[in-house]
Symmetry: C5
Subunit: 361 residues, 5 copies
C-alpha cells in the first residue's frame, strides 16, 4: 500500500497552467454522446481534432475521455471548451483534492471514483467533470468506470435525463460515482466482521497485519470520500450558472449519500480500532494462561523434586533411609503436596470450571 | 451484529426517484384514523386503492402504514399525497439518515425507532413521517411500534391533540419516538453497571466479548440518536408551512430530550471504555500475582534443592557425609534459607497483609 | 454509583404537560419570604392553598418549595404563577438538563445543586428557579441547600439585594449555587492528589477501583456543571423582560465562575487519567522487578544444581570422584559460576545501585 | 504540586463586590511613577491615603501595587479610581481567569505572570491591569516581577512610551508579561529533551515521576497561557475607550506571541506524551530481554540436569553405568544438547548480533 | 532534534520595533532583479546603501536578501521600503509564525521554507515576502532556496510573470515555496513505509527510536505547514491593495496545495502512530512466544527430572530398584510423559502448524 500518491506536476515553480504528462498515464480515448429530447448519437472519436466537427449546435454533448496521457489532446480540449488553465491543471495533475469550482465558462467538479480490487483492496482514480452550458466533459485516468447505468438511461431515452440539460447530466454522473462508494465500504465492513472471530481465536501477527491493512484501506477510502462531502455541499449551497435549482435539489440527496458514506467509513474505523484493542487483550489473556500453566506445573513438581533430592543424599547417618515404610510414606507425602497445590490453585480460580470457560471463550 | 445495514436501492446510476422494493420487506398494511374535534373513526384499509375514498375532506387523517413491501402501494401513496420523488425514495430505501425536509406539499421527517431485543440487544427501524395540511402519513418497516399511547390519547378525545391539527399530531408522534430512546439506553446502562463487578472478579475473554458487544450496541444507538438531534433542531429553527409556532415550541422540548439521550449514550460509551481499561489492568494485575507466586515458590525450593543435590554427590572424600550431625544441621540450614526468603519477600511487600488485600480487591 | 438517573416522566407518548409524581419524592414544604426595601416577613406556609393570600401586592416574594412529591401543590403553583405546562414539566420531571428559557410570564432557570456526600462522593439535585415580575419561585428536590447566605443577606436588610427586585434575587440564588461548585470540585481534587502517592506505593486493585470511582464522580460533576455554563451564557446574552442590564452584568461574573468550574473539572479529569496511566506503568515496573528477581535466582542456582547432579551420577568409571581435592575444587567452581552470574547482572544494570534506586522510587 | 489553587472569596452567597482578604496575602506596598513627555517622577507611597495627593492632573500615572493583603488599601483604590465592584472583586479574589473587560471608567485586564522556580518548576501569580484615561493601576500578588525593562524604558525617556498615553503603557506592561512566557516554556522544553535520553537508558519509576511532574507543570503553564490568548484577542477585536487604534495594532503582535506560546506548550505536551509511551515500550522491551535470558538459561540447563539425574538413579540393572566410556560420552551429549539449544536460539534471533544491537539501543 | 527554536528577540519589555541581531545569523547578501515586459537586469548589490540607486522607477524589482545578520542593512531596508516597525520585527526575529498582514505601504507574508537534510531529517527556515506596489522584497535566513525555477521563468521572459506586476511575482514565490512542501513530506512517508516491514521483523529499541524521530520530524513539518494554510487563506479571502483579483484566483490553487500538504502530514502522523501500536503488539507477541517456549520446555523436563530423582533416593527398601525391567520401563514412562505433554500443547495450539505460521508472520 502506498501512503501517498505522488502528484504528477511540473517542476516546482513553473508557470501555473503548465501541463505535465505522467509517462505512465494511459493514452486517451474519446467517446462522444450527443442527444436531444428525441435523438441520440454515439461516436468513438478517433482523435481530438475531429471532435469539434462532431459536436452539434443543439442538444447536449457528453465528451467522455479515458486516459490523460497525451498533451495535445488535453490542450486541444482546453481550448475547445475554454477551460481555465488552473482548472485544466487540476484535471491533468492527478491526484487533485475533490472540489467544485465555478469558472467563467464552465463548472469544474473534481471527484474520485473508487473500486474494489484484488483481496479486499481498493483502487481509486480521479474523475473530473466539466459542466458547460450544453456539454459535459468528463476525464478519467483509466478505462473502466461505474457509469454504464447513466449511459443506459440516456440510451433508453425516457425520463428527465434526456430533457433536463447538461447540468442534470453532470449531476447524474456525480451521483452515480458517489452511490458507488457505499458498496465498496460494505466489502471492507464485511471483511472486518469476519476478522472479529479470527481475532479471538487466532491472534497471530498475520491477523494483526490484516487488521492494519484494512485500517489503511479505510484511511484511503476516507481520503476519497471526506473531501467529496465538502465539494458536494458547496455545489448545493452556492448558486452557479450551470446547475439550476431543481438539479441543486437533487444534489441535496447526493450530499446525504456523501454524509452516509463518510459515517460508514468512520464507523468501520472505530470498529477496526476496537478489534485492535481486542487483539492486544487476547494476547494478554493468552500470556496469562501460559504463565498460569507454567506456575501450576512448577508448583507441583518443584517441591516433590526437592523431597526426592533430600533422600538422594549420601550422609552416613540418615535414619529415615533405613526405616521400612519410609519409601511409601514419602510417596504419599509427595502426592499430598501435589494435591494440596492443585486444591490451592482451584481455590484461586486458576484451574477448574473457570479455566475451561476461558478455553472456550 | 451487523456493522452496516445494506441500503435497499436501485442499481447505481438509476434515475432519482426509481423505487426498489426489498424482497425481505413486509407487505404493507394500512390503518386509517380520521378525527375532528368531536368525532373519531378508525379503519383497517384493505388496499391502498380504497384509501382515497375513506379520507374525509374535514378533520385530520392519520394514515399509518406498516411494511414497505409493495411497489403499487407506495407509488399510489406517492401520487395521493403528492410526495416528491426524492422524499418517496428516502422513505422506501431504508436506511435513510434521520432528517427533516420541507417540500412543497408536505414535510418529510425521517426518524428511527429503537427497541430492546433479546439479551440487551437493540433493534432499530426507520420511521418516516409526512406531515401535510390535513393529514399525517407514517410509514414503518415492521409491525409493532411505540405509538399506542398516541392512539389512546386520540381515542380519549380530550386535550389539545384532537383540536391542534396535523402538525401537532406529527409532533406528538415524533416526540413519542424520541421519548422511547431513553428507556432503551437505560437497559444498556444497567447492564454496563452489572458488568463493572464482573470485570473485577472474572476478567475472562467472555467478559471482554460482552463489553465489546455492548459497545457496539451503543454505537448503533448513537447512529440512530445523534442525527435525530440535528433533524429536530432544524424543525425547531426553520419555519415551514406545516408546523405552527406553538408546535415548534413543543418541539424545543423534544429537542432537549434528543440532547439528553445523546449525552446518555456518550456517558455510557465513556463508561464502557473505562471498563475496558479496567479489564486490561485487572489482567495485568493477575499476571503479576501469578508471577509473584511462581517466583516465591522457586526462590524457596531452588536453593534447598541445590543443597540436597550437593550432598547427593558421590565424591570419595566429602568429610561432611560422615559427620554425625550433618543431616539435621543441613535440614536446619534449609529451613533457614526458605524462611529467609519468605521474610525477604514479605519485606518487599510481595506476601503478607498486602497480598491478602489484593485477593479481596 | 448510578450511570444514569431515571427521569420521572409520564408514560411514553402522553400529552405534553402531563405531570407525574415520583413516588419517592419528598412531600413539599413551602417557605415564603416577602420583602420591600424597608420590611421583610418570613412565613412557613402550611399548604399551597394559603399561599395566594400571603403574597403581598408590593415588594418581592420568594416562594421556596422543598420537595416535589405532591401533585396538587405543583398544579396550584402552576396556575398561581402562570407557569407554562412545558416549564412545569421540566421542573417536576427531574432530572432536566440545565437551561434557561424565557416564557411569557416568567423566566425558567433549571440548574443543579451539588454537595459532597459520604466519602468523597457527590450528591446532585435539581434546582429550578422561576423569575417573575415581582416574585421568585424556587423548587428543589430535598431539604437542605446552599442558600442560607442569601437568606441572611435578605434579613440583614442592607445592600442592593433588598432593593433590586426579583431579577436580582434570581441572580443571587443562581450565583450562590454556581459558587458552591468550586468547593466540591476541590474536595475531589484533594483526594486525587492524595491518590498520587498511593498509586506509586500501593498499586493494588483497590487503588484502581478508587481511581475509577473518583473518575466517575468527576463525570457526574461535569454532567451538572457543563450544561450550566451554556445556560448562564444564554442568560447573559439574550435580553429578556425579567433581568435588567445591571443584573446581566453581574451574571457575566457568574458565567466566569461556571467556566472556571468547568475547567477545574477538566483539569481533574486529565489528572485522574494521568494517574491511571501511571498505575499501569507502575504495575509493569513491578512485574519487571519480579521477573528480574526470578531470573537472577534461577541463573545462580540452576547451573550449580546441574554441577551437583553431575557428580551424583553412579557411573563406575568417573575418575573425578576419587580425586582428593575434587570436592573443594567443585565447591569453588560453583562459587565462581554464581559470582560470575551476579557480576554479569550487575553489568546489565539488573542489580546493584540502580535496583536500590528503583526500590526507593 | 497543587492541582487547584483555592480562590480567596467571600462565603458562598455573599453580596457581589464583598472583598475578602486572604490571611496569607502580602501587605501591599505602592509605588508611583508619573510622567509627561518631558518629566518623570517616582515615589514610594507610604500609605494609600497619600496617593491621591501625589497623582498629578497632567501626564500619565502608573500606580504599581505589590501585595493584596490590606482591605483598606484595596477599598480606597477602588473609590479613587472608580473601579466597578465586580472588577475589584476579580482583582482581589485570586485566582481569576485571565480576561479583559471594559467598564465605564476603566479597562480591566486580568493576566498571569509566570516564572521558573526551583528545579524546573513554575510559579504563577495573578497580575491585574486597570487602564484609565490618564493612569494605569497594576496589582500583583507578591514582590518581584518581569517589568523592570518597562520601567527602564520609561526612565530612559525616549521613544513612544513616554508620549503615547496610558493605553500604550497598559499595552507595554501586558506585552512584557506575555513575552515572559516563552523563556519559561523553553526551560521545561529543555528539560524534556534531556529526559528523552534518560527514558531510553534508565526507565525507572523516578524517571516516570519526573515525566509526570513536568507534564503537570505544562498543564499549569497552559492554564495560565491559554485563556490569555482569548483575553488579548478580545482586546484586539473589540473597540474601547482606553486603547486607540495604534495600540490595538501593537496588541496584534502580543496576540501572535500568545498563540506561539500556546502552541509551544501544546508541542511540549505532545512530546511528553510521546516520552511516556516510549517509557512503557522500553519497559516492555526490557521485560522481553529478561524473559529471553531466563528462557535461554533454563533451556540449556534443564535438559542436561535431567540427564545427570537419570544416571544418578540407583537401579540394580542399569548397564550404561558399567560401560567404560559412558561418562565421557554423556558429557559430550550434554555439550551437544546445550550447543544445539544455543544454535536454535540464535536462529530465532534471540541471541547473537541482534541481541548486541538491542543492548546498545 | 530541538523541541523549540529559540526566537531571537530583544530583552523582555523592549520597545516594539527594537531589532536584535542573532549573533549566529548569516551576513546578508543582496541580489536585485529588475524587469519590465521587455527588459531584465540582475545585480549583485555590494551594500544596502547602493540599493536605492539601482532600483528603476519603472518595472518591477525583486530584492532578494540572504542572511539577516546585519542591523544596518535591515534598518536601511526598513526605511527604503517604508516597512512598519512591527513588520520588520517579524522579519528579523525568527521564527515568526507564518501569517499574512497588509500594512499601509506593503503586504507582509511570513512563510517557512523546508528542505530535507541529512538522513530523512528536515531543515526549516523563515522566508519573508514583502509585496509593494512595484517591488517584492524577500528575506531568508541562509543561502540556498527553492526559488531557482522562478528566476528561470523571469529570465526566460515569456508568459504572464514578466507582465503581471509585483503582486503576481509575490504569488509565484509563495506558490513555489508551498509546492516544495510535498516532496519533503514524500521523503518522510517513503521512509515510514520502509519502517513498516522493519517493525514486524526487528522490533528493537533502535526501530522505536527511529519511529520517534520520524514522528518528531512530522511534528516539525506540521508546525511549518499548518499555519501556512491559514495565512494563505487570509490572502485569498481578504482584499488588499497589493494582489489583484486574478492573482487571488491563482492563490486559491496555492491554498489547495497547502490543504493537501496538511492532510498528507496528518495521514503520515496517523500512519506512524499505527506503526507504534504495531511495535508494541509485536513485542507482546514475541514475549508470548518466549513464554510458551519456556513453558513447553519446563513441562517436558520437570516431570521426568522428578522421576529420575525419585529413583536416585537411597532408601534401603525400594523394591523397584531391584526389579530387572525397572529401568527400561521407567525410560518408557518418561518418554510417554514428555510425549503426552507435547500432544497437550499441540491441542492447545501452542505448537504445531499454528506456531510455524506465527514464525513466518
Amino acid at each position: 500500500m502506498s501512503l501517498m500518491r505522488r502528484r504528477t506536476k511540473p517542476p516546482v515553480g513553473s508557470r501555473p497552467g503548465t501541463l505535465v504528462i505522467d509517462s505512465a498515464a494511459q493514452a486517451p480515448t474519446i467517446r462522444l454522446m450527443t442527444y436531444t429530447n428525441s435523438d441520440l448519437a454515439e461516436h468513438a472519436v478517433a482523435g481530438v481534432d475531429e471532435l469539434q466537427a462532431l459536436i452539434p449546435a443543439e442538444g447536449v454533448s457528453w465528451i467522455d475521455v479515458h486516459g490523460l496521457g497525451d498533451l495535445h489532446t488535453l490542450e486541444t480540449l482546453g481550448k475547445l471548451f475554454s477551460i481555465h488553465p488552473l482548472a485544466l491543471e487540476d484535471v491533468v495533475h492527478v491526484p487533485t483534492r475533490p472540489k467544485a469550482e465555478a469558472y467563467e465558462h464552465n463548472l469544474l467538479i473534481i471527484t474520485r471514483m473508487i473500486r474494489v480490487s484484488g483481496d479486499c483492496d481498493v483502487d481509486s482514480e480521479q474523475f473530473s467533470i466539466l459542466v458547460g452550458s450544453n456539454y459535459v466533459l468528463t476525464l478519467q485516468e483509466w478505462d473502466g468506470d461505474v457509469l454504464e447505468p447513466v449511459r443506459q438511461r440516456l440510451r433508453a431515452g425516457r425520463g428527465i435525463i434526456r430533457s433536463a440539460g447538461a447540468g442534470y447530466l453532470g449531476y447524474a454522473i456525480l451521483d452515480t460515482i458517489v452511490d458507488a462508494y457505499y458498496p465498496v465500504i460494505e466489502v471492507v465492513a464485511d471483511r472486518l466482521e469476519q476478522m472479529e472471530e479470527r481475532v479471538m481465536t487466532d491472534p497471530s501477527p498475520k491477523t494483526l497485519r490484516e487488521l492494519n491493512r484494512l485500517k489503511n484501506v479505510l484511511i484511503r477510502i476516507r481520503r476519497s470520500v471526506a473531501p467529496q462531502r465538502e465539494a458536494v455541499n458547496s455545489l448545493v449551497r452556492d448558486e452557479n450558472d450551470f446547475l439550476n435549482d431543481t438539479t441543486r435539489l437533487y444534489l441535496r440527496d447526493t450530499y446525504d449519500h456523501c454524509v452516509s458514506s463518510s459515517e460508514a467509513v468512520e464507523n468501520s474505523r472505530e470498529f477496526v480500532n476496537g478489534l485492535m484493542n481486542t487483539y492486544l487483550t487476547v494476547i494478554s489473556n493468552r500470556m496469562n494462561e501460559v504463565m498460569k500453566t507454567l506456575t501450576i506445573l512448577m508448583s507441583i513438581f518443584v517441591p516433590v523434586t526437592f523431597m526426592a533430592g533430600l533422600y538422594g543424599m549420601n550422609f552416613d547417618s540418615m535414619p529415615e533411609l533405613h526405616w521400612k515404610w519410609s519409601y511409601p510414606v514419602l510417596l504419599l507425602a509427595m502426592l499430598m503436596v501435589a494435591g494440596g497445590m492443585l486444591l490451592y490453585f482451584r481455590r484461586l480460580g486458576w484451574i477448574g470450571s473457570r479455566t475451561r470457560e476461558t478455553d472456550d471463550g
